[in-house]
Symmetry: none
DNA sequence: GATGAATGAGGCTTCATTCAT
DNA sequence: TATGAATGAAGCCTCATTCAT
């Protein structure tokens, strides 16, 4: 594996466990099996590594969430796929999602990041907007539809810090449907479901 | 105002803006209008201040959310009140909620904090559990009902970092009802509403 | 008891246990049952307290060692009395002797202290010098006779830090005689003993 | 010369002159010709340096004192050699002996140090014990025989802080014999001397 | 290219001393 | 007179970054 990639993986894990300042360049280099100075062959500064980690993580998350999803089709099937994809993120790529969470609450998070990230999620916003326009979803800012539905994946991950539970397939199914109900104009209707 | 309280307010704001390590004891003391050493008359260490800020913040949030709520009555009215209370938190006490978010993702967050916080939210868990027992709410771990409903208040606050929108009363009403639909066994039913 | 005296006793004990810098003015005042600021009513500075403690301790030690001793009479009886007095110091006034030891090895110990202390021990130097002049003691600088004989009381106290033993009367008697033999011109002779 | 060794030498000298707290890490580093932070490449903390200085000093002292001494042979020749070795310590390695003195009276001196040091001097204790068993030395705890005889080397060094005298060979010879007399059962006898 | 010793600014904390009450 | 809050200099230590080898 690429040394640079190894460095990023090590760093992400350590940042999550110990915070951005709890993990020094020395420590990262040591964990990645290189000398301190070699770090700067891959990243011009610690901050640059952090910023790149965020971009990579966010890209990774989008890739996961949008995987196998036809965002053009505003229906439950698409949403359900994203929900399951998100759950897969929790289960198989927890680090990436925790890092995103960490970064977005840190002083590293900049206006530029904000714009970049918004753009990454634009397809999802469009998805919600189309649903609104079609009278399927409640009429409110698209971002709030997101907050009420798909964003709860993050809430679920966060709850894991307090409670122990297992994310079974049936639970995922249940929650996917539940969060879908939140944003429908006429809950319980079959609207948007594939019939 | 109490100097200790002033220190905590200053610290909370600076921590949110600059992170735990981005804000030095000297800076906090200066902003609070005292000499560096005086900090230690009020807190035995920077870490102690941080931990106390969390406990205070969490207590504050619980107080806000549970205000005027009859948690014994498992119905929409109670839930709606909590939702509106949460929105009030976003609007009038944003710092407190952002700080909680920051702390829970930091290495300061300990097993002890976890237990303490769980206990603080116990009444809410009971609220959800009763709803489950009554056949009103979907049958899943109570904490996940929380993640699907009330926890979205935090999502809404987080969206504010990316999008500009105004939390009008009608929007709050709309979202309160939307998130309520997510957890109902039979969405759209009037179950649980006061008739 | 005098508050000033109490302060000195507390300070001496704490200095021995924790070193001069291991014990703050705050701590001393607290242990002596007074407010921090009150310390400065009794001593103009921490250093002044330390210096006075040394003078007091040294005076105290001289008083103990010379007690009931007729230094004019250069004989074993006088020496034995001093030895026993020194042992009493070890047993009943350990703090004072340990403090002297501490101070004389610290940077507080000044040329002025040196002169003052020499003067305090002058009677003992004279005692040894007279013995030399009488042909009773070995011919060497009086201070070295002291080092070979009475000073071993301090060595005995220091050994206590490494070994456990009890200073019985018979042991004291034994050591008094032993150390006396070291300085006699003709060891084992009865010279100087009271017959 | 090794930078680490240079640091230790500088530190030992400064500690003796200014006490453990009178000499900062910055000062030591500066005197050793390095930046403050570089200190921590060689020692994990100031305290660790201090502890290692003690162990080194004590080892050094033992090496000096026991040099060319056949401790198995309980006789004046062996003792005289140790005495002269000790005097050599005073004259050529004063720092080491003063540091030992300083440390053993400081709060750094621990139970572990005590045990370690006792073990280092075990050969000397055995020397004295054998002399007791042979009826050569006075019957008292071996450590006290040490306090009455060889330990006076330290007393002599301490007297140097108060009095000026020169340690001539004849003086050393004189004192070696004198301190030997102190511990003999029958002073003045030729017992133990090589005939 | 890789190394890791070296740098020194900056952070947390302590503490002797002052002074308003 | 007694108090104890307040001060701020100074100490220990960490760490991002540089650079000679």
């Amino acid at each position: 594996m690429d040394k640079r990639t190894g460095l990023m993986q090590v760093a992400m894990r350590l940042f999550i466990e110990q915070g951005f300042h709890g993990c020094s360049v020395q420590e990262m280099a040591r964990h990645a099996g290189m000398a301190t100075g070699s770090f700067y062959r891959y990243f011009s500064s610690k901050e640059e590594l952090i910023r790149q980690l965020y971009r990579n993580s966010m890209q990774h998350i989008c890739d996961i969430v949008f995987q196998h999803v036809d965002l053009e089709r505003t229906c439950f099937a698409s949403y359900r796929q994203m929900w399951f994809n998100g759950c897969q993120g929790i289960q198989n790529h927890a680090d990436v999602m925790l890092f995103k969470d960490l970064y977005e609450r840190s002083p590293f998070f900049s206006a530029e990041d904000r714009a970049w990230t918004r753009q990454k999620w634009q397809p999802l916003d469009d998805f919600f907007q189309r649903g609104i326009d079609q009278g399927l979803f409640r009429d409110m800012p698209a971002c709030l539809l997101g907050a009420l539905s798909l964003a709860t994946v993050q809430c679920v991950q966060h709850e894991h810090k307090f409670y122990d539970f297992e994310l079974t397939d049936s639970l995922k199914e249940h929650m996917a449907e539940a969060s879908w109900q939140a944003i429908l104009v006429s809950p319980s209707s079959l609207s948007g479901r594939e019939q």
